[in-house]
């Protein structure tokens, strides 16, 4: 018998078994659907957390304000020394003139302030450099470095008027802790839910195959090889995975658009996250969701069937 004929027969029996054991298939699909929604919840929550933390992280920086009498050389020297630090991701220089122009623009409706500024006759604002670190935990090191420069009052350090990090320190420390904790919690939650989902699906499929244990015995007795017995059950397992993934991918459109709370995504959290929109994230990353859901469900369906049948084949 050719391999193709065997494959065709296994696939046909798998499909026929899937249809004829409608109730059993339905319960397996339901379980896998719930598991897939859990997976989606984890994916979207992680993405939301990452996006939000990225947003917040971008809002944190260390700013060095220079004295008004700082020379261009001194500023450039500090700028270069900062660029040389491995922790620094980027720096943004703002000249005295730009700072003044920004100030005027910000207070254009405040005549009193503008008048006071005009009466001064000179530019009271110094140049500044906004420094962004690669990781939030590195801000303290950068600030300390700048502080040391300022304290030494030697060379370019004498031009530094103020380093504003310490005003933000509490916020930055807290954010660093939040990032660490949420990353650890995220991994723990993912692992825990994945194990739960795996056990639930495995047991559902085991129960489904338990009902067919006598038939597996008969197939052995008639002289069917292991793969000929196991194959149709694995095909049915793959079908559970495909159908549940398609159901989830279709249902996600209305759920994420109107009722994200149905899959455990709290809309108030989304409001808090501000810039993150789960529906836009889902549609923008549809292929990622399709790939992850299909591959996870198919692998889980086939593996669960394989393990469940193995038990009765061995006996």
């Amino acid at each position: 018998m050719s391999l193709w004929t065997t494959f065709k027969r296994i696939a046909r029996y798998g499909f026929v078994g899937f249809v004829r054991n409608g109730f059993v298939s339905l319960s397996a699909i339901l379980m896998m659907t719930i598991m897939s929604f859990m997976l989606v919840n984890i994916m979207i929550s992680n993405a939301a957390m990452t996006a939000t933390l990225q947003d917040l992280t971008n809002k944190v920086d260390v700013t060095v304000y220079f004295r008004t009498d700082a020379t261009q050389d001194q500023v450039e020297q500090i700028q270069k020394s900062l660029q040389a630090l491995p922790e620094v991701a980027s720096i943004a220089y703002m000249s005295r003139e730009q700072a003044l122009a920004d100030f005027r623009e910000r207070h254009k409706n405040d005549q009193l302030t503008i008048q006071a500024l005009d009466e001064l006759g000179t530019n009271p604002l110094g140049a500044s450099i906004e420094v962004r670190a690669k990781q939030t935990s590195q801000y303290e090191g950068i600030a300390k470095y700048l502080q040391a420069q300022q304290d030494s009052q030697a060379g370019a350090g004498a031009a530094i008027d103020k380093v504003n990090f310490y005003q933000n320190k509490t916020a930055i420390d807290r954010l660093t802790k939040i990032i660490d904790t949420s990353e650890k919690n995220g991994i723990a939650k993912t692992v825990f839910l994945a194990i739960c989902a795996l056990l639930i699906v495995l047991n559902t499929i085991r129960l489904a195959i338990y009902t067919a244990r006598d038939e597996i015995g008969v197939m052995n007795l008639v002289g069917a090889g292991r793969w000929y017995v196991r194959g149709p059950f694995m095909v049915a397992g793959v079908l559970y995975g495909i159908v549940s993934s398609v159901v989830v991918l279709i249902l996600l459109y209305p759920i994420l658009l109107y009722h994200p709370v149905l899959i455990g995504l709290d809309p108030t959290t989304e409001l808090l996250f501000g810039s993150f929109n789960s529906f836009a994230y889902f549609t923008g990353n549809f292929l990622l969701f399709f790939g992850v859901l299909m591959s996870t469900s198919i692998a889980l369906g086939a593996l669960s069937s394989y393990l469940a049948v193995r038990r009765y084949l061995n006996s």
């Binding site: 018998m1 004929t5 026929v16 004829r20 038939e215 015995g217 197939m219 007795l221 008639v222 002289g223």
Partner: protein
């Protein structure tokens, strides 16, 4: 053809043997009825032939091959050459009559064309042509047993093992099943039958092996049921 060489089977250490020191030979084309009370060891003896039960001592030979020493692939081949029917029919409940019989042909590697030709033929032999697309739960006990017989003989096995095939049937269906078994034996298939039914054994009128407490106590060429 079949030879049980001093076989003993003990299921649990310390328990009494289900089958004890049995030596029995069966020639090709024989129809052997094995009778005895429940627990006499009839089913255990038959299961040793297709290695569903492995003897604790002794050996079982099918032709020149020792069953216990066959590889997995050889064992599958052997099982395709032994038809089996049971008291509880053991049909595949999610497959219809055609598919149940076709399954035995498929595992033997037969082509779809052969299967499409052979299944209606064997169903005709057991008188169930009109039930070809029915599922097991739509059939009576007698009809299910006839499907099981059709599945057992469709590969034209050398041996047919019938373990209490009439145990769940009324007298009319019992008579029909015995008639079919005799017909199959007349076509050259060796049959090993276990039963409690006196009238079945007496109506066959062939070799009768009587077992008691795991041992053979009588072996009559043209025997009658006597316990």
């Amino acid at each position: 053809m079949i030879f049980f060489d001093k076989v003993t089977k003990t299921y649990f250490e310390g328990s009494s043997a289900a089958v004890s020191d049995i030596t029995l030979g069966v020639e090709p084309g024989e129809f052997v009825s094995i009778v005895g009370h429940s627990g006499a060891g009839k089913t255990t003896l038959l299961k040793m032939l297709f290695a569903e039960v492995i003897p604790t001592e002794g050996a079982v030979f099918f032709g020149s091959r020792e069953v216990g020493k066959l590889s997995n692939a050889e064992l599958l081949k052997l099982r395709r050459n032994i038809g089996t029917i049971f008291q509880d029919y053991r049909l595949l409940s999610t497959k219809n009559v055609y598919e149940n019989i076709a399954f035995a042909l498929e595992v033997a590697g037969r082509s779809d064309e052969d299967i499409a030709g052979d299944v209606p033929h064997v169903l005709d032999l057991v008188g169930l042509s009109d039930k070809i697309w029915s599922f097991p739960h739509e059939l009576s006990g007698g009809e299910q047993q006839r499907v099981a017989i059709a599945r057992a003989i469709v590969n034209q096995p050398d041996v047919l093992i019938a373990d209490e095939p009439t145990g769940n049937l009324d007298p009319i269906n019992t008579h029909d099943i015995v008639g079919i078994l005799k017909k199959i034996n007349d076509l050259g298939t060796t049959i090993l039958l276990t039963t409690h039914n006196k009238s079945v054994v007496d109506s066959i009128g062939r070799r009768v092996v009587t077992m008691d407490q795991g041992r053979i106590v009588r072996d009559d060429k043209d025997g009658k049921y006597s316990l």
